[in-house]
Symmetry: C2
Subunit: 135 residues, 2 copies
Amino acid sequence: MTGDDEADGQAPALSEAQLAIMRVVWDRGEATVAEVWKALAAERTLARNTVLTMMTRLEEKGWLRRTAEGRAFRYAAAQPREQVLGGLVGRLLDTAFGGSTEGLILTLLKERGVSRDEAKRIRKLIDEARKTEKE
Amino acid sequence: MTGDDEADGQAPALSEAQLAIMRVVWDRGEATVAEVWKALAAERTLARNTVLTMMTRLEEKGWLRRTAEGRAFRYAAAQPREQVLGGLVGRLLDTAFGGSTEGLILTLLKERGVSRDEAKRIRKLIDEARKTEKE
DNA sequence: CGAAATTACCTACAGGTGTAGGTGTTGGCA
DNA sequence: TGCCAACACCTACACCTGTAGGTAATTTCG
C-alpha cells in the first residue's frame, strides 16, 4: 500500500496553529468556529476572528469541510486524522531522518523516555506491525 | 539548565527546505554554500543563490554559525542534530499526538511498516530506553 | 594581462501564516 | 420593537519562506 508515495507530495503540510485547530475538530467530530475558539482560547489568548480566518482558509484548502447551519457553519475534517498525521510523520521521517524509522524512534525515546507500561505497549505495536511486514 | 542559550525549543521550528540544508551541514560537520548547493542540486534543481539566501537566514537566526575562510564562508551547525531533531519530534508529539509516544509510534509503523530486522533493532532501543525509565 | 569562474551581498517578489479590526446581518431578549 | 450579542465576510498587515536576478569583489586560468 501507500503506492502513491508522492501523490499528495506537495501538500504544504499543516502548520502548528493549523494543527491545533484540526485537533479540536477531530476530537469532536465536528465543530463551529466558536467551539474551536473556546477550546483554543483556554490555552492561550487569541481573537475569535483569528480562528475564523484560519478555519476559512483550511476550508479553502480542503482540510476542512463545512455545512451551513442556521447563521453559522459547522466544520468537519475533510480527511481522517490518521491519514493526515501519517503524512506528517512520513514527511518528517524522510526530511529529518533520511527515512530511518529507527532514527525517529530513537530520538523519540531519548526525548521523552518511556515508562515500563508504555514500553510494553509499544512492543505489542511492533509485534502487530511486523505481521504486515514490509518487503 | 539551558541557562547559556535561549535558542531552545520555541523557535518557529525549521521548515522542510531549511532542514534539508541542515542535514547536509550536519552530515559533513561543516560545509560551504557551494557544497550544500551541490548536495541539494543532486536531488532537485535550485539556484545557488537560493541556498545562499537560506543559509544566510539560518545564520541570522542562530541555526548555523559561520567563519570566514578566504573569500567564502564555512558554515557549521550551531546546535547538535540530536537536540534539534529532538525538539522537532517533541513538538510534533505534543502538537499532533497530544503527547502520546505510542500514538506517534503507531502512526509511524502504520505509515511505513517495519521489517523483521528493524523490529528487532527497535525492540532493542526500547529495552535500552527503559533503563532510563521515566516516572 | 584579461576573461571566466566563484562567491557574497542586495533586492525583489509571490505565496503562506498569524493576527486582528471593521462592517453587515440576524436572531433573541428585554 | 429596538438593541445587543453572535456570526461571517472583507480587508489589512507584518513577518516568514522559497526562489532567484543582478551586481560587485576576488581568484584563477589561459
